[in-house]
Subunit: 308 residues, 3 copies
């Protein structure tokens, strides 16, 4: 593995190796103080973000620094991009400055693979358009693996805007590679046209989807979808697809719930479901576990790509 | 002390302890090179700024790094805030990423106490609305204590926009706790309604206020006050309340002058008064002393909240 | 040398000393890992940028960190500048916080010299208006010196918007100090009025200029020049002055080509010329060499100004 631009094509053994390494780092993060072997000392990681994402950038920054690396931030707003420089020129310039790795977020699908094709420095995709967001999927998978002790045979239901979601895409690929069954649940306007080719079950009703699932990954609803004609209104989306105690009560079974964040409270997920981590009630929020696992997963990825 | 969200309620002993520690750090800052015991090695301080403030952020960054800590910056412009995330979700996410402390600036009064109520990581208030700005007051107090050798019994006059000033509020609380007498001087439109309950003297004429005072803290005038109906015009405010040599000449006594910065030259303070650090003339500008003391005070606060 | 605000007035010996030191650092940058003697340990470099420039800021950040220094970023967008603070107050505040050096980029010509006049900390000019950009010229000169083995006697042609270019100005000064001959080539509307006093040859036709030159430095064309009345249109500028294979083919001689970046592809430089680093074809692109040399040159400058 020279780059991590997506989970597509990665064998189960590679995913398990990353998850195992991440699980060890996760334990370290629970200690105080969290001190790790500086396997990336004297390495410089460029965080090249063409979309805002404090959360993801922060997580990578912490991960890199835990391992002794130095981070340098490059954001579109303050960059030469506004001067019309091409992506490849930006990357080649940073490479000529001898940074050791790129963490890239970009609005265009395929941007990470493109960058990987023009540099011999490791590239980590931190989200590219509607393509992939592999470290998000890895942290979701680590969270599920820690909860259930395994991934194989699990039934994972992904709820919400599948059509535009790089998170859904990476999760479907990674979870299937590891032997999980996947279902998606969304209004048909938020499903890809070739959804039947993805090898996933499709539910348009949430009750059937919840009844099927061992765990649910709730996706963020981009609020502009309401004005884009994809859903009739936020209220109707929320009433039909928002994950609430009312719907979980009908299930009468504890369901672990994941969400990549940031959440729209009371739209795709209710406050109770987002915040409750143990019974009473039928949901177990994994959201904060996911965030901590995010740092651990990014440490594992940077370690594997960069350590000598 | 688990947090520093304000000076309200802190006993004199706590303030003196912080000031003593800061005074030692201040001495260290005068040495070249400035090298300090890295008591915060392997600690990560999140600088969460929802308002612009290069000066304060810089000062905290330097303070944290002098003690060996790593700093991570989070600013509203590039954050999930624009995606509508709640403050508590932002904080809980950063906490789950295992940052060790929060330095928070926020436009809402009470934001720092709110954040302190939802996290067990130390919170330092770097200014919240019109509530408090405790490290600014501590650096002002340290500056006065270094100049006079004591705080008890001093007569400190605060000049300007008391109504909107978290700096004034924190200074009044801290200085009174340490035994100083306080007066405020401002047009009545820039005084709080319950000013008589604060236990401070009130002057609306600057000559009487200056005659009373051992030292003056001049507040920044937000220029938009002129259009907000609080003052008739900048020119009239400046003529009546701007601190100038003309007014100080009538005093015929050397007066140390503080200002939290950034200053509006020739509005609330004249160039001569802002820049003159020794006679001839009747003012002694403490402004640069304050800035250096700011780093020292923030080192002391981070040390007390974070060191093991 | 206490500051580096420009190359004007610096003797050849100083330039050679910086270039020699930079050449050594350049060798180090080609090693893996790049580890350098931390001569700037415990030093803090403030990067004070009033204009956007990711490239230059990044380069200085890497340079400072290679030598063990800590960097702090200050950008106009998030600064007190929007609150109307003067440049001198900003600098004096940062100085009182005990930063060890300033790297300044500012839209006003002369800003770096002004800052140097009010602080005793070293100031490095990272570009001020249309005045100077000394580290850019030093990296261009290092690139030429590495290519040709010398500067003395070389014929260097600078192509493009001479009138507005601090890069051209610094290069003319530095290259002439080291004994090169300089020519400029541009439409007369993009030449300074007193060009004949600069001691450079002037070509308005590119073929004659190329025939004369040992190497060409192509300047970026600010695209707004087309609407500013300086050139008839981008297309006409590109047709007459854009450096293309068609024009180089008429030369029938290998020409090293430099450009400070970011480039406008197919406007002032063609894709082929920008990207080709060896024959066939009559250009040798130095662009990536320049970028790496930029880090080395900034290491040398920071070393000379800051190391004890």
């Amino acid at each position: 593995m020279n780059h991590l631009t997506g989970l597509y094509g990665l064998p189960a053994s590679t995913l398990h190796d990353l998850l195992d390494l991440a699980a060890g780092y996760r334990e370290g993060l629970n200690r105080e103080p969290e001190i790790f072997d500086p396997v990336l000392a004297n390495r410089r990681v460029a965080l090249v973000f063409f979309e805002n994402s404090t959360r993801t950038r922060f997580s990578f920054e912490l991960a890199a620094r835990h391992l002794g690396a130095s981070t340098l931030s490059f954001t579109a707003a303050s960059s030469s991009i506004s001067k019309g420089e091409t992506l490849s020129d930006t990357i080649r310039n940073l490479e000529a400055m001898k940074v050791d790795a790129f963490v890239l977020r970009h609005p265009s699908s395929g941007a990470a693979d493109f960058v990987a094709s023009i540099t011999d420095r490791p590239v980590v995709n931190a989200g590219d358009g509607t393509h992939e967001h592999p470290t998000q999927a890895l942290l979701d998978i680590l969270t599920l693996r820690e909860y259930f002790g395994r991934i194989e045979g699990l039934k994972i239901m992904i709820l919400g805007d599948i059509l535009h979601s790089r998170v859904a895409r990476s999760n479907i690929i990674g979870l299937k590679t590891l032997g999980a069954e996947i279902a998606v649940c969304a209004p048909t306007t938020l499903l890809p046209g070739r959804i039947d080719q993805l090898g996933v079950q499709v539910f348009t009703g949430i009750d059937e989807a919840l009844a099927w699932a061992d765990a649910a990954i709730v996706l963020r609803l981009q609020l502009e979808r309401a004005t884009g004609g994809f859903i009739p209104s936020l209220e109707e989306y929320s009433a039909r697809y928002g994950l609430t105690d009312e719907k979980l009560d009908r299930l009468k079974r504890l369901l672990p719930v994941l969400h990549p964040g940031p959440i729209n409270r009371e739209i795709e997920i209710s406050n109770l479901v987002a915040d409750r981590i143990q019974p009473p009630g039928y949901s177990s929020s994994m959201l904060m576990e996911q965030v901590t696992n995010g740092v651990a997963v990014r440490m594992a990825v940077l370690h594997r790509l960069l350590a000598r």
